[in-house]
Amino acid sequence: MFWITGLFNSLAFAAVLFLLAAGFSLIFGLMRVANLTHGAFFMLGGYLATSAIGAGFWIAIVAAGAGCALLGGLVQHLLVQRLAGRELAQVLGTLGLSFIVADQCLLIWSGDPISLAPPAFLQGAARLGMFAFPLYRLFLIVVAAFVAIALWLVVERTTLGAKIRAAVDDREMARATGIPVSRLFTVVFCLGSALAGIGGALAAPVLSVYPGLDTEMLPLALLVVILGGIGSLAGALIGSVLIGIIYTFGQILLPDLSYVILFLPMVIVLAVRPEGLLGRQAA
């Protein structure tokens, strides 16, 4: 009973992590930019959804995604693009911006945790024998699976995806063959930011939104990406599930050591396979 329920909760948390980490991984893989505002976008998405919930749950989710996509596009255009090739400046710039976003959120939404009620049809639980699974957490797993499939289809089966993969593979060659890499950067940055915002909005009924949520989630996204392999969607999926399971069970079984058992697999993977589980080895 304990293990089944724990596993189910792990998968629901993994679903949220995947929404956060997939965009982070794509941005990192394509642009070699560790976008440290990503955690802030996750939190901002949650806050935007709590403000827009009056218009309905789905509109709140769309508003969170659209707001973060717009802000992500601006960050890419006004900050990241201007610091092209200067990784340290990009890291510091996006980190500074994440503090600004977090402070503005505190100013607008105050310091109290805000929860978001799931829509009525997702309240309650689905029963299977002696087990009861909260419907909303099931919904999170379904959404993450849907997003994973949709992203996979876009990246693997479309011309846009072929260009993204080519630019991840070799930016210099992509440019030389006429692929507009800068425009792709903007598209991917907006997409990644939208996914973070939607992730934050969808997680709000489970995690609530509160100051510090960004700094709690960002290291987890980093862990997922490093574990799964930079730029790999499948890696982000596997990394999310692994970190979801380790994080959930670690907090229940060994709360004092939860960070040790969270980071230990990353250290081992980095020592044995520095490119991550599904990352590509540098040529």
């Binding site: 011309t159 846009l160 993969r165 080519a166 440019r175 030389a176 006429g178």
Partner: protein
């Protein structure tokens, strides 16, 4: 009409002047060799022409159009194809996918983000034709990371050709190849259509001098000698700067 015209082109990194006041014209269909000792600025010149670097001063005109301010991808769309000194390919993709991606920029397909590239038979057929030209059709579906160095060099040329360039920049296309592989690539170079303008950097003098109509000799980022093959070879400055090394 000149295919390419460089006017007072200069590139500096801080106080380091890598290219200084270089001007020359390359006519349509010409085979131009860029010579110069290591550090002369040859690859930097290619990067300036292709758009990977922005000039500090001067202009670059492609078929009469000033392309100095255009980014690399837009210069590629206007007809500049190139290979790199250090092999640069989409190593995670198959050989044929590399050629398909390279040919994407010249078709209206590049504006359509959705729809599968693999389902486009026409694309695949034309990519296969190019692979036949460079004798790589037998490994079309092999992943690039599983191919040999010589095959990758030929694939780079195939990708440049797939763009149907009007100007082809070849940066040491024979570098690192065995004697046998050199023969294969040399055959490919000699089979390039005469209408195509080619600028090549190459240290294999037997191949390079046989290929070139005209030569530009660079030294310390400056254009030292510019003229026909025989003129440049006969010029004492050439011997001093390069051939005597």
């Amino acid at each position: 009409m000149s295919a390419l015209e460089l006017n007072n082109l200069s590139k500096s990194f801080g106080g380091l002047h890598v290219i200084s006041d270089v001007s020359f014209k390359v006519m349509e269909g010409e085979r131009r060799l860029i010579l110069g000792p290591n550090g002369a600025g040859k690859t930097t010149l290619f990067n300036l022409i292709a758009g990977d670097l922005a000039p500090s001063f001067g202009t670059i005109s492609l078929a009469g159009e000033d392309v100095s301010a255009l980014p690399t991808n837009r210069r590629a769309a206007r007809g500049i194809g190139r290979t790199f000194q250090i092999l640069t390919l989409f190593s995670g993709e198959t050989v044929i996918r590399n050629v398909v991606l390279a040919s994407l920029g010249r078709t209206s397909r590049r504006w359509k983000p959705f729809g599968s590239l693999d389902a486009d038979e026409e694309f695949r057929a034309s990519a296969m034709e190019i692979l036949r030209t460079v004798m790589l059709d037998y490994i079309a579906d092999k992943c690039v990371s599983e191919t040999s160095y010589g095959e990758r060099r030929r694939l780079e040329i195939a990708m440049a050709l797939a763009q149907q360039p009007r100007l082809l920049l070849l940066d040491e296309p024979l570098a690192g190849l065995s004697k046998e592989e050199r023969k294969g690539v040399e055959g490919l170079l000699n089979a390039l259509p005469r209408s195509l303008t080619v600028i090549m950097i190459e240290h294999d003098m037997d191949v390079a001098l046989g290929f070139a109509d005209r030569i530009a000799l660079l030294q310390n980022g400056k254009l030292l000698v510019d003229g026909s093959r025989d003129e440049v070879i006969a010029d004492p400055r050439t011997k001093e700067a390069y051939l005597a090394e």
